[in-house]
Symmetry: C2
Subunit: 217 residues, 2 copies
DNA sequence: GATAAATAACTGACTGGTTAGTAATTAAAT
DNA sequence: ATTTAATTACTAACCAGTCAGTTATTTATC
């Protein structure tokens, strides 16, 4: 490096950063318009490159889809696990952290559009769907089940079919995210405050899971 | 030729039946493959006609989409309302009928794929989405709110934010339908029994909504 | 009641626009 | 000078929507 004039010229060649820039652009557009309706030209343009460049890093549109999931979501799961471990001794608190943490780390971000995306395209891209189930849905449910089981063990929650209840408890979270990325965008719906929604949900579930008062009917 | 074979010949012209046959074919395919991935040639073929015929009855692919919603779902809402009126004096029973009726009349049928469809395409077809919100989602929620309010009035359910709680209670129903039409199809997931799922959900909600025992904390 | 004319339902080849993916080419870095 | 990054121009396939023409059914005429 003899001379230093590079500050002005736009940096052109960024092999390391490109994949991340492209998956970020793809995530935005996939979430916004759906997978099928998103043109690879657009993805490239939003990342500031041409379509040809995109093909230097990803073999196909489907490969890009898979990368979006892998880069975007898989790391979040691990973060969530750590968050919960901090309250492993208090199941009620753990449940609360799950709900609000899910929203803070995932639902409220751009990633919150991924459930919509995956649900729509699962049939058309079975391999991506299987990856998503294995790496996201099952670990996420396992984490929820951990919360429930711990509550039962501590005598705070009553015994339930935890397989079914984990499914049921994930639903309002996913629904909140789906709603935001579908009808809330195009139809003027009475604005729903996520915090109030989660608070109501937490309240409902806590009472629904509470052990029946001492020997009561 | 002299011989008469007219009884054998398939009836060709069925002006009255066509739209219904076409929307039925479209529903199946839209649910199965998604709106964007469904070709109108396929829809026509499944209805036993050519693509040209489809355009005699529907102006565009979007118009067909709208017709699928209108013909398929809107009538169900009215059916649901009647079902609930039969138990207007018993809120717990009403809630139970809502959950299981929703599944029987809607979720378990082919129409159960429509929420997935609408969620995916709401952004791309705002007019269809607005119609769906107005004619399906809002009436459906109003019906649920009726159940809750009646329960509160009768002193069976505790007071809650019924706007938020209706949303929350719809979520596990929709989730069940979405699941069936996405991941359950392409990934070998441990089979989830809808009846058991609904039973668990009903149990959870009933306890979650119960008025706190006489003055208890 | 047979035949012809008119109409309604339907067909399938075609068009025009779109887009995933490729190949030829240029620019930059070492 | 060679390798790597990126662009541009291209291709091949796809599909919504059209339309000139065909077949079936109804109506009119004798």
């Amino acid at each position: 490096m003899t001379d230093r004039v590079e500050t002005k010229a736009p940096v052109r060649r960024r092999k390391e950063a490109r994949p991340q820039e492209l998956t970020a652009a793809a995530l935005s557009l996939f979430v916004e318009k759906g997978f099928a309706a998103t043109r690879l030209d657009e993805v490239a343009a939003r990342a500031g490159v041409s379509k040809g460049t995109l093909y230097l890093y990803f073999d196909s549109k489907e490969a890009l889809f898979l990368a979006v999931i892998r880069e975007g979501i898989v790391p979040i799961i691990e973060e969530g696990r750590k968050l919960l471990e901090a309250h492993a001794d208090d199941p009620e608190r753990m449940l609360r952290e799950y709900l609000f943490g899910w929203w803070a780390l995932f639902g409220s971000t751009e990633l919150g559009g991924v459930p919509k995306l995956m649900t729509s395209e699962a049939q058309n891209f079975p391999e991506v769907a299987q990856y998503y189930v294995r790496e996201v849905i099952l670990p996420g449910k396992a984490l929820m089940r951990e919360v429930l089981d711990r509550g039962v063990a501590k005598g705070v929650f009553r015994q339930t079919n935890s397989e079914l209840v984990t499914h049921i408890l994930m639903a309002p979270l996913l629904h909140l995210a789906l709603w935001r990325h579908s009808f809330a965008v195009c139809c003027q719906v009475p604005d729903m405050d996520p915090a109030a929604y989660l608070e109501s949900f937490f309240d409902l579930v806590l009472k629904g899971l509470a052990v029946t008062p001492e020997g009561g009917k």
